[in-house]
């Protein structure tokens, strides 16, 4: 497969850590020209991502912006527009939530999860469109968007809305040559899974129930993101690809 990233200009939201970092690095390793790495507040981790991206002779621009706030999304894109004249790829990884029973959610916890994880996607895509001649957009979803995972209500609901947003935007943007898809991961080995209550047991149980015999690594997802931005996936439009080592089969 030829490199999907070669010469491209990409924005990765939530790129300072975890899956977003792995995707930023993969883009750089496959020859991207420029990667804008958005993050919330972790300057130290963002700086590490920048160093790693630059090791591949790819330009890295760190853009701290809280995507739960529309004015900060505006500032993020103003900064992008001051630096480049187009974007080819947008990968949306930013998300944050509270792990707790759905009935115990307070309005502010619902709002913050929705705004940071899902509304942010729509608002970013609105700013991406004028910058994309053709392009590929990928959102990170999770199995909890379609099934019940204990204590995952807020994020699960936000991911269901995210997958639906992907379908609507895909239909509206396909005529412009912009493809929109999502990846739904099973449990992936990043810091965020330590936020689950009793995360060690969760990991052990997940490994037992996963036919492939392990939990996912961020790089497993990064490879799929590369496929979804490549021309090999040109006929995939508005879909959520499940990537979970078979966890959801049973």
């Amino acid at each position: 497969m030829k490199s999907a990233a070669l010469g491209r200009v990409a924005l990765v939201s939530g790129g300072s850590r975890g899956i977003g970092r792995a995707i930023s690095l993969q883009l750089a390793a496959e020859g991207a020209d420029t990667v804008f790495v958005n993050y919330l507040q972790n300057d130290v981790e963002a700086e590490k991502t920048r160093e790693l991206v630059e090791q591949h002779d790819c330009q890295a621009h760190l853009v701290r912006a809280n995507l739960a706030y529309p004015n900060q999304i505006g500032q993020l894109f103003d900064q992008i527009e001051q630096t480049v004249d187009h974007l080819d790829v947008f990968i949306h990884c930013a998300a944050l939530t509270s792990m707790k029973p759905t009935l115990a959610l307070r309005p502010n916890q619902w709002d913050l999860t929705m705004n940071a994880s899902t509304r942010s996607f729509l608002l970013c895509v609105k700013r991406c469109v004028p910058l994309m001649r053709e392009g590929a957009i990928v959102a990170l979803s999770s199995l909890g968007g379609g099934r019940v995972i204990p204590n995952y209500g807020a994020m699960g609901i936000a991911k269901a809305a995210l997958e639906s947003t992907v379908r609507y935007l895909a239909a509206e943007l396909a005529p412009k040559g912009i493809r929109v898809n999502a990846i739904s991961g099973g449990l992936i080995d990043t810091e965020s899974i330590r936020n689950f209550p009793d995360s060690e047991t969760l990991i052990e149980e997940t490994v037992k129930r996963t036919p492939a015999g392990r939990i996912g690594q961020p790089e497993d997802i990064a490879d799929i993101a590369m496929f979804l931005i490549s021309s090999e996936s040109r006929w995939i439009c508005g879909q959520t690809l499940v990537a979970d080592g078979g966890l959801s089969l049973s």
Partner: protein, 106 residues
């Protein structure tokens, strides 16, 4: 834009009451954010974001953590932190941040 100390207190009280869905009369300076107002970690982030948005600040989480633990010994207990982390402490913290950013009216 600059703020008086009274404006900072009353804005902060509004922010906390709205974020935590509690009555503003409960958001008194001596109220402990965790044990009296039942805030959870996502609420602390939410309140941080609202403060940043309202006052045009960027709060450094490490700085915040260090200041909260200041003078509480090498390994402060959860109770020590809870007792220190009151509405009054937060208002002082915001005032200091705003002073550093030269946004407080003398």
């Amino acid at each position: 834009m600059s703020y008086t100390n009274e404006e900072i207190l009353s804005k902060f009280q509004e922010i906390v009451a709205d974020a935590l869905s509690v009555d503003i009369s409960e958001v008194v300076p001596e109220a402990r954010v965790f044990s009296d107002l039942a805030a959870e970690s996502i609420d602390i982030l939410d309140i941080q974001f609202r403060i940043e948005d309202e006052f045009g600040l960027k709060i450094n989480r490490d700085d915040f953590g260090e200041r909260l633990a200041e003078g509480l010994g090498e390994e402060p207990t959860a109770q020590d932190i809870d007792a220190r982390f009151t509405i009054g402490w937060c208002v002082d913290f915001i005032c200091e941040e705003l002073q550093a950013a030269e946004k407080v009216e003398e």
